[in-house]
Structure formats: C-alpha cells, structure tokens
C-alpha cells in the first residue's frame, strides 16, 4: 500500500485525549463515583524491615463501629508474582520490609479505617536486616527467603536456593583473563546507586468488588490490566473469566503501575465484604514508602582496551538490591545481564548479574528496566578508559559502539540501528569540543556524553491484539489492551488505524477505559513496546477491516480489489472512478441489483502480533541465537555548570537523539525526549533515604525532591534518526524509556569535565559535590 502525500504516518496529529484532560473531564480511578455502599480501606503496615509475625490481634479493631472486615495473611497461603512467585498479598509469617502490608481494614469511612488500623495489635520478633546487596549476597547474610527453592519460577530465571540470590545471569564469552594482557589500558571501578521512586502524580488507587455470583471486578490505575488479572487470578485460584479488571487513564506509570502492587490487597478485602465495593487509595507518603522502587545497584566493572582504543575485555558483577520480593526484579537482573556491556562491541566478557533480596521495598520495573542502573557505571567507566588511552570520549564511542549486524554480548546479531548518527548529532548540537565560558565567575562549566541501548525485556512470547469496528456513520472504534499513560499510545493507535483504513484521524476513537471483559489482550504496557507490538496488531486489524470492506465493494461493483482504495472515508475505484461512502455499508452491507439480496455486513477487523523468534540463552554462558526482539539506541550530551560556592549543578543544555525506527508522530516523540531528559536529570539527584532500621526518612515531596519547573535545562535539543526495524509498523520502535537511561552518567561525565572529580555514587547532591570540591581544591583549610 503506497503512502499518499496526506499520509498520517509521520504527522504530528493532536493527541486524542488532550481536550478531556484540559477540561477536567478525563476520568482516573479515584474519580469514578461509586454509590453509598462504597467501603473504604487502609493497610496495616510493618514497622520493621525484617521480623517474624508472632501474633495478630484484631479484636479491638473489629469492634470499632463502622469496621466491616479485617483481613490478614493468615488464610492466604498463595503467593503471586510475574517471573518468580515469591510475594504474599499480606505478609503471613514474616515481614521483609518497613511498610509491608500485614493486614487490611475495611470500614464505612476512611476515617474509621484509619482509627481501626491503630487498634490492630501485632507482635513481632525482630530479625537482623540487610540492605546492601553485596552484603546480602554473601553466604553468612540473614536469609530472607528460606523457601526460595520451592517458588515457581519462569524457565529463564535461575535463583540460588539457600541464599538471597533470586537470579544469577551469566555471560561467559571469549577469554577475558587472557584479554587483559593485550590491553594497553584497564579501568576498574565500583559504582553505586540507591533505590529511587517513580513518583507518578496519581498515587496507586484501586477499587474491588466481589459479588455473591463469584464475579470480581477490580478498577485500578494500571498499566497492564491483563497481567494484573492473570497474576491475581492464578494466585487466588479463580478463573480469568471471573476476574474483570477495568483500567481507566493512568496519571503517570513509569513502570510502577505495571504488574501488581497493592491491587491484590483490595481484591482480598473485597472478598471479605462480599457485595460491597472496597476502595484502597494510597497517600503520597505510602506511595513513597510502600510501592515498588527502582532497585539499588552496586556494579563492579573492569574494562580494557588496546593501544588504539579498541575494547578487548570486560569483567563485571552487578549486584541488584531487589528488595523484599523479587518477582519482577529478577528479570531486570537478567536484562541487565544480556545487555551488560552497554552498546559496545566487546569480544571477551565475563559477567555476573545478580538479583539479591534485601530488606528494602520491592524492587521492580522502573522506566529503563535495569538500563539506567547499569549505564550509570558503564558510561562513566568508558570515559575513564578513554581518558587513560588519551582518546576523546566521542571518538572512543564512535570507535567502539555497536553497529547493525555486529555480534553483541549475548551472541545475537545487532538489529538495525544507527548509533553513530545519534552520537554525531548530539556532539554537533552540544558543540562538542568547544569549551564554553561559564556564565558567572563562581561557576565551572563542562560537557559530557553518554550513549545507551535497550531492548524490550519481555518473556519470549508477549502478545498484542486489536479489534477495529465501525459505527453506522463510519466513525471507527479501535479496541486495544494497551494503556495510555501519557505517552500517547491511544493517539498512535488511532493514527495507525486511520492510515490503514483511509479515514480521517478525527473519525477514529480508541475505546477506554481498558476492560479485560471487552478489550482484546495486551501483554503489558511496558518495555516501550506498544508502538511496535500493539501498533502491529492495530495495523493488522485495520488492514483486516479494510480488506473486508474492499471485498464487499469489489463484489458489489464486480471489480478487482487491487483496483480499489479507500481515501477520506470513500471507497474509490481507480478503474471506473466509482465511489462508495463507508457510512452505513460498514454495518448494513450493500444491496445487490434490484435489491435481490445483500452483500457484506458488520465489519469487524481483527489483528494480533507476537514475536516468534526469541530464543533461550544458555544458563552458563548467556549465549543464544536471539536474546531479544530488537534494540533501540540513542545518545545524550549534557552541558552544565557547577556553582563552586554551593556545589549545586545547573544543567544548561541537553542534546538528545534516539533511533526510533520510524516516527509515527514526531511531536509525541519529542515530548518523550523532553520529558525523559528532565526525568533522567531528576534521577541523578533523587534518593530514597533509610535509617538503620530500614525506615524511609523522606516520604514526602519536601524531602524526596523531583525536578520542578525551575530546575529544567535552558534548552533541550531533541532529534531522532529513523533506521526501520524489521517487524514494526512502518519500521517503528518505542522510545519512552530510552530517553532517560543515560542522562545521569552524562551529567557525571560533564561534571568530571568541569571539575575533574569522578563521582561513582548517586545521588549527585550539592552537599556531596561541594565537600568533594573543598577536598580537591584544598579550600577551607
């Protein structure tokens, strides 16, 4: 099908949801009105990071007027999980992080539930806790999951029962020991980063209703209603057909609303008060303390190159602090493992990527899924190595970065990308090589660059499906299971459908809220996969609908399908120049001559997509034919200043270029680039702080600070490159996560350029920077 000049692909059409959002009409879960029979709930949370539960006494709490039910983990032996089934809904015999839900109180008002929580008496036996993943990986560490060996686990995850190691991914490629002797320069460093939070503006909220008929309905702020349904149904032993998940618009996800977090608690509480809906809404403080986090990471990296700067060997260990439950985190360690080198050609690699239980909140998916964590160290150590060998950081990266068809660390051939052009474009945009004058005498200025890669980290068979149906007036409904988080998924789906059908963009509506009862299946809205995977499904469904229409009209006109097309809602014949409007015929079909019968009928287009070519990797070497579906790559460069008097950083410019395959909606890509750059920058300064008892110290916006309107760079130069992927719609891939993966190390590299100090640990607080400046420049003595 050829693209006409008025093709929607590549057009920055307006978002489908913008008007709802600016008028306050957009409905999020907390906005849904329930009647007077709505009950409210609050969770009783553990005050200890690691303890045995000796007893739970709910008697006094139950007697508070208005309390309708109190649930605990007592009668809930089943666990849930995505890749490793290790997580209880309510802690049963043991708590493993400060804030872990131990009981749930359901009451007629939220106030009563709050008071009842105070009356629940729990006796604990405190156990020694462990927070550092390296410490926790040692044989003498306190054991958090003695039953690790009995947990069901996906066949590509390798836990080590008897330890706190929930996943151990290995790369053994070439001969790294031998390669050191050929190296002219070797850099070795340990990098650390703490857990950080997603901080969506909308906190986690869900409402569950369990009816006497056995039907359960769960309304949730969810990126992935189907995964949510699957995990909870399996855990509770109910049929998928009996659990319905409804997911309205999401007020920010960033991975924190993928999988299941607090929603299963709402379901269990609803089951205790059959017939009445139960609402569970997290406060902002609970959002900081009790939802999933980005895992902490300790990376030990050693890397070497020859005298020409060609990378020869890399040896590394990643210790991911997976938190109390690693059901999702294990795949982060795995993804970090098979992408452990970063976007570089390194022929000899010895890598161990571990996910380790710690007494911290649950480590889970966060924008980048392991890539920001590992690039923090990788992109700095590459700069360190380049400096040792006397090469410019840009030159070093151009020399060593992966190119299409290169054999990468897991043994697969690199899928089509163009990282060099991304590097060249950012270098030009940031004026690499030009030393910029600081804007004030008390400031020092520097530039840094960092590159990245990421593949969608999914099971090998994650499916998308879509249905395209018409209304009588030929407006179109696109039914999908992929969620709108703000990234523009609905807009892109509408564009693709309109393009394939030959109708106007404005005539297409994407149906929402997502509803597992009606929406077609989508594995999850994660991994930046929707434009590619769901896009394929929508394209197929719209194409299927188009074929049905053309077949009916071709038959009606007695012409060949190939001579027909649809343009602006009209079927047109190139041959006869006849026209047939779509409206009415897409439902009622077309009458034969003299109304002797009819042809056609309601058009229902269906399509699906599932990659079929991902293979397993050898558990000992990490090698395999095809570890992932594809990679997306990009480069970022940062121009910043340090205030020598306060240690504060100001990022002046960020240049950001990504290879997106094909820009379906260019401006939406730019909005991801801009938002991602600021999110990435913010992540360099963020930190969840804990005291020695594992308690979160900064559970509010006052002390967990995210970028504000005054903190943004003066300019973000965003751009993209288009190297089509083999199996995406018009070659498109996703980019939603990639845009923030390497901002933190780019900042660290720029900081090094400015003041000559390397900071291997996040966050880059002004406090830390200032004291380091004092020491280096021997001031204040």
């Amino acid at each position: 099908m050829k693209n006409s000049e008025s093709s929607l692909i590549g057009q920055s059409v307006r978002r489908t949801d913008a008007i709802d959002k600016v008028t306050g009409c957009a409905v999020f879960v907390d906005d849904i009105p329930f009647g007077p029979n709505l009950l409210h709930s609050r969770l009783v949370r553990s005050p200890h990071p690691h303890a045995l539960i000796i007893s739970i006494d709910t008697k006094e709490a139950e007697q508070l007027p208005g309390v309708r039910a109190i649930v605990t983990g007592k009668d809930l032996s089943a666990r849930l999980g995505l890749y490793l089934i290790d997580r209880p809904i309510f802690a049963e015999k043991r708590v493993r992080y400060f804030g872990e839900p131990v009981a749930g109180v359901v009451a007629t008002t939220e106030d009563i539930a709050v008071e009842a929580v105070k009356l629940v008496k729990i006796e604990y036996e405190v156990l020694p806790a462990v927070y550092d993943p390296v410490e926790s990986a040692q044989p003498d560490a306190p054991l958090l999951h003695p039953d690790l060996g009995s947990y069901a686990v996906a066949n590509f995850i390798f836990p080590e029962p008897g330890t706190n190691i929930s996943e151990h991914f290995k790369i053994r490629k070439g001969d790294v020991e031998a390669s050191w002797s050929d190296c002219e320069a070797i850099a070795e460093e340990q990098f650390r980063l703490p857990p950080i939070e997603h901080v969506p503006l909308e906190t986690h909220t869900s409402i569950a209703l369990s009816e006497k008929s056995g039907q359960i309905t769960l309304w949730a702020s969810s990126q992935s209603p189907f995964a949510m349904r699957d995990m909870i149904a399996q855990c509770l032993g109910i049929s998928h057909s009996k659990l319905r998940v409804i997911a309205p618009l999401v007020g920010g996800g960033f991975g924190g609303k993928a999988g299941v977090t607090m929603e299963a608690c709402a379901v269990v509480m609803a089951q205790a008060v059959e017939g009445r809906p139960v609402k569970l809404r997290l406060t902002r403080e609970e959002e900081f303390v009790g939802t999933s986090v980005r895992q902490s990471l300790v990376s030990d990296i050693k890397v070497g190159c020859d005298k020409n700067g060609t990378l020869l060997g890399m040896e590394l260990t990643y210790y991911f602090g997976g938190g109390a439950y690693n059901d999702y985190g294990v795949n982060i360690a795995r993804a970090a493992g098979y992408s452990c080198t970063g976007p570089y050609n390194v022929p000899n690699v010895k890598a161990d990527s571990l996910c380790v239980y710690t007494n911290h909140p649950v480590g889970s998916a966060m924008r980048g899924f392991g890539m920001p964590e590992i690039h923090w160290g990788l992109e700095q150590i590459m700069d360190q190595l380049a400096e040792q060998i006397g090469m410019d950081p840009v030159e070093f990266r151009l020399k060593n970065c992966v190119r299409t068809d290169d054999e990468i660390v897991s043994g697969m051939k690199m899928t089509p990308i163009d990282l060099e052009t991304c590097i060249e474009k950012v270098s030009k945009a940031i004026r690499w090589g030009k030393v910029e004058k600081p804007t004030a005498p008390n400031k020092k200025r520097g530039k840094g660059i960092a590159i990245m890669w990421k593949a969608p980290a999914m099971p090998p068979n994650p499916g998308s499906s879509a249905v395209v149906i018409f209304n009588e007036d030929a407006t179109v409904n696109v039914e999908i299971g992929g969620q709108e988080l703000g990234q523009g998924a609905f807009t892109v789906a509408a564009q693709i459908a309109a393009e394939m059908l030959g109708v106007s963009y404005e005539s297409v509506t994407v149906s929402y809220p997502l509803d597992t009862k009606y929406s077609p299946y989508e594995w999850q809205t994660v991994a930046s996969r929707l434009t590619w995977s769901m896009g394929n499904a929508v394209k197929a469904a719209a194409g299927d609908a188009r074929t049905q229409i053309l077949e009916t009209v071709a038959d009606h006109w007695d012409e060949e399908i190939d001579d027909l097309t649809i343009k602006d809602g009209l079927v047109i014949s190139f041959k006869s120049e006849r026209e047939q409007p779509l409206d009415k015929m897409v439902i009622y079909g077309l009458p034969n001559e003299d109304f002797e019968g009819w042809k056609g009928g309601p058009v229902v287009g269906r399509g699906h997509f599932m990659p079929t070519y991902v293979t397993n990797l050898d558990p000992e070497t990490g090698q395999g034919t095809r570890a992932v579906v594809h990679y997306t790559v990009g480069a970022q460069a940062v121009d910043l200043e340090v205030d020598m008097e306060t240690g504060q950083l100001e990022v002046l410019n960020i240049a950001s270029v990504y290879d997106v395959g094909r820009a379906i909606n260019p401006d939406l890509i730019m909005t991801q680039i801009e938002g991602g750059a600021v999110h990435g920058m913010s992540s360099a300064f963020e930190e969840l702080k804990f005291n020695e008892s594992g308690e979160v110290l900064n559970s509010s916006f006052v002390d967990y600070r995210i970028a504000t309107m005054a903190d943004i760079p003066r300019k973000i130069h965003g751009d993209y490159v288009e190297t089509p992927v083999d199996d995406g719609p018009w070659g498109a891939r996703g980019v939603g996560e990639h845009v923030m993966v390497q901002t933190a190390p780019a900042i660290a590299n720029a900081l090094y350029d400015a003041v000559g100090i390397r900071f291997p640990d996040l966050p880059l607080s002004a406090d830390k920077i200032f004291l380091a400046l004092e020491e280096k420049f021997n001031r204040g003595k």
């Binding site: 307006r14 978002r15 949801d17 913008a18 008007i19 709802d20 959002k21 600016v22 008028t23 306050g24 009409c25 957009a26 409905v27 999020f28 907390d30 906005d31 009105p33 901080v199 969506p200 503006l201 909308e202 906190t203 618009l249 999401v250 007020g251 920010g252 996800g253 960033f254 406060t283 902002r284 988080l485 703000g486 990234q487 523009g488 401006d667 939406l668 909005t671 801009e674 938002g675 991602g676 750059a677 600021v678 999110h679 509010s700 916006f701 006052v702 995210i706 970028a707 504000t708 309107m709 005054a710 943004i712 973000i716």
Partner: protein, 158 residues
C-alpha cells in the same frame, strides 16, 4: 463532629452544603460535589494538583477547610471553558502537547490562569515562580511554559 451549613459559589453556581469541620475544600469538591477535575496528589501543599482559585487566587484546596470559605467564590478547571469553548490557555495546552498523563494539568491551568490575569505578559522566570508549586513528572515542563507564553500572546485568558 460538628456539621456546618455553608454556601460555596462554585464556577458561578451557589451550592448549599453540610460539611464536617475537618473536610477540606478538596474533598468537598471531589466527594460531595463530584468536581473530580481537581486532583489529590499529596495533601501537603507540595504538588499543586489540587490547585483551585478562591476569589481568583490560587490555593491548594487540600490545605483549606471548606468551612473557612463560606460565601466565597471557587473556580475549578471545570469552570474555565465556557459553552464548550476552550480558553486560549487550554487551547494552547492542547496545541502544544503540554499534556501527557494529564494529572497535573488542572492544577497547572488554574495557577496559570491566575498568573495571566495578574500578569498578562509574564517572562519565563515569572512563570516558573508562579508555578513552582505545580509538579509534573511527564512533560519536563517546557511545553507548559511555552503554552502559557502562547496564551499570553493570544490575549491571555478570561
């Protein structure tokens, strides 16, 4: 618990209400009156998602008791567009893709609406100072600033 009878003028319409002492304007708007455009982001005056105008001045509705506002005029995001026509500011947000997840958007619009009324031609710094109490995690803010600048060039807002 004392129940007070109050009247609030919301988007031009007087509402008679019975409210407990401890109910904030945020909860009265959302739970008693169904004006769910105003969002609950932190209940601590930090994120601005709950921003409404009280007699034209932006306030965090999470930190005001409804009973304190007896007789006052409240404007929420639902009260901006008239007869289905978006204000120049709302239109600018739409045109410039200054909206992603949309959760911060109502608060941003209320703060910006008040800003343009008191300062019809703000600089970028003026905008930052006025909206420092409106957090956004998705957009990176620049589009929001640009939309406010665009609206100020198109004759501001009503």
């Amino acid at each position: 618990m004392v129940i007070h009878t109050i009247s609030l003028i919301i988007n031009g319409t007087e509402e008679q209400l019975q409210v407990p002492s401890n109910m904030t304007l945020l909860h009265v708007l959302r739970d008693k009156l169904g004006f769910t455009g105003t969002k609950n982001g932190c209940e601590a005056g930090e994120c601005g998602a709950c921003t409404v105008l009280v007699d034209g001045e932006p306030m965090n509705s999470c930190l005001v008791l409804a009973v304190e506002l007896n007789g006052r005029e409240i404007t929420t995001v639902e009260g901006l567009a008239e007869d289905g026509k978006l204000t120049p500011l709302q239109q600018a947000f739409v045109d410039l893709n200054a909206v992603q997840c949309g959760y911060c958007t109502p608060g941003m619009l209320m703060s910006a609406t008040a800003l343009l009324r008191r300062n019809p031609h703000p600089s970028e710094t003026d905008i930052q100072e006025a909206l420092i109490g409106n957090l956004c995690r998705c957009t990176g803010y620049q589009r929001i600033i640009d939309a406010i600048l665009k609206a100020s060039r198109n004759g501001g807002t009503r």
